[in-house]
Amino acid sequence: MTATLAAGPAPTADRATVLQRWRTVAGEVSDPEIPVLTLADLGILRDVTCGTGAADADTVMVTLTPTYTGCPATAVIAGDVEAALRAAGAEQVRVRTVLSPAWTTDWISEDGRRKLQEYGIAPPGACRPAGSAPRSIGLTLSVRCPRCGSGRTREVSRFGSTPCKSHWTCQACLEPFDNFKAI
């Protein structure tokens, strides 16, 4: 009996350790457009599992969710995760993308918010429910300048250099900056 067990799947404790290792490796992959953030910081890494059957025991299965449906970084991220896991010794990697539950900026970690701020991007505020945008111009809540900390800032455009950011300018230090849009 002992011999049979040894030849079978690894004992549970080892399996958990291995899985944790794959999770860490995948979670440490950087976002290609905002390289200071890892996938774990962004909250787009939804799941990392290993196959349980004999055929797929060597397969690491990663589930990602996109920030925006059209985000061109999604395909790059999937490729980067696969490359990182292979470099760390994974035999087989499968990456799939799921839309549900829909990603929200509320999933960005505290650490991620601090890194955004230091990088010069104002972190997102609390997510507002869809449909609650103010109709009048200029009534959005002010965003603090990530460079000088002033609250005297102005929204230039609700759309910025990537789908996830809006474009602001600081009236105190006169620097333009990006704001991570709360969705």
Binding site: C71, V95, V98, L99, A102, A130, R135, R158, F159
Partner: protein, 269 residues
């Protein structure tokens, strides 16, 4: 629109939905709305009145392209004939496109684009709200994702409608012309006739567009009032987009959109 190695979206196992023509048809219509509008908005890049607007319209276009990819991938999967998102986008002819005519009309004056954006984004907002409770898991998942994006699109169109309508004499006059040019395409959005068969075959899955009119009007009408714009009373109305009847403009747009793929089949970046 290159195919990525990832398996887009589908929460439904393919086996349970393949070969469902009514669902494939319904999803294709929604995907075509997003794809055609995405292409139209992309035509603004480098031509918008200001740099910020180039970025805004490009971002909206990109969101719509993402929605189109999800929808058309799913339509191909449900159809069960092995067609990919690229096959559907690049290898169908004009009569096979199921989009509403509103999204294919030329960009025209910037105000025309804004009027079209106000109409369609307010419509998609109500549509995706209704699809949140669709019995189809993939449609419900996409709706939950897309509604956050469309919320920004609707807000963008609203702010511009207010600025142009309640702006200068010149901007007001051009916004008026724009509303009159786009309003003949509004009725078609709420007409269930062309998708009656799909609606009957997909209870609890597809949304009857006539049910969206009230909430759409409740959003759009106050925006027009605040923008000091009278609501047009069109004397003609578009019809038939959902069964493949289009304006003369779609064919020209598709020629440009599809030529690269048709000249170099299977080409990727």
């Amino acid at each position: 629109m290159t195919t990525t190695p990832t398996n887009t979206a589908s929460a439904n196992p393919a086996s349970s939905t393949t070969g469902h023509p009514a669902l494939a048809q319904y999803v294709t219509g929604l995907g075509d709305d997003a794809l055609v509008l995405s292409h139209r908005l992309a035509e603004w890049i480098t031509n918008a009145p200001q740099l910020e607007e180039d970025l805004a319209l490009a971002n909206i276009s990109l969101d719509l392209l993402g929605q189109a990819r999800t929808l058309l991938s799913y339509a191909g999967e449900v159809e069960g004939k092995g067609r990919t998102e690229d096959d559907l986008a690049y290898l169908r002819s004009e009569r096979e496109f199921r989009n509403l005519q509103l999204v294919e009309i030329p960009n025209g004056d910037f105000a025309v684009t804004i009027a079209r954006q106000l109409i369609i984004s307010a419509y998609q907002f109500e549509l995706y709200t209704a699809l949140l409770s669709s019995a189809d898991e993939t449609l419900a998942a996409l709706a939950a994702k897309a509604i956050k994006e469309v919320d920004y699109h609707r807000d963008h169109a609203t702010q511009w409608t207010l600025r142009l309508g309640d702006g200068t004499e010149q901007s007001h006059a051009r916004m008026q012309v724009a509303l009159e040019a786009t309003w003949p395409y509004v009725e078609e959005l709420f007409d269930p006739t062309d998708i009656a068969r799909e609606l009957a075959a997909l209870p609890g899955v597809a949304v009857d567009p006539s049910t969206l009119r009230e909430s759409w009007t409740a959003y759009v009408r106050p925006v027009l009032v605040e923008a000091t714009m009278p609501e047009p009373q069109p004397n003609r109305r578009s019809r038939g987009g959902r069964r493949g009847l289009h304006t003369e403009y779609l064919g020209h747009m598709l020629a440009e959109m599809q030529i690269l793929h048709r000249a170099h089949p299977g080409v990727t970046w």
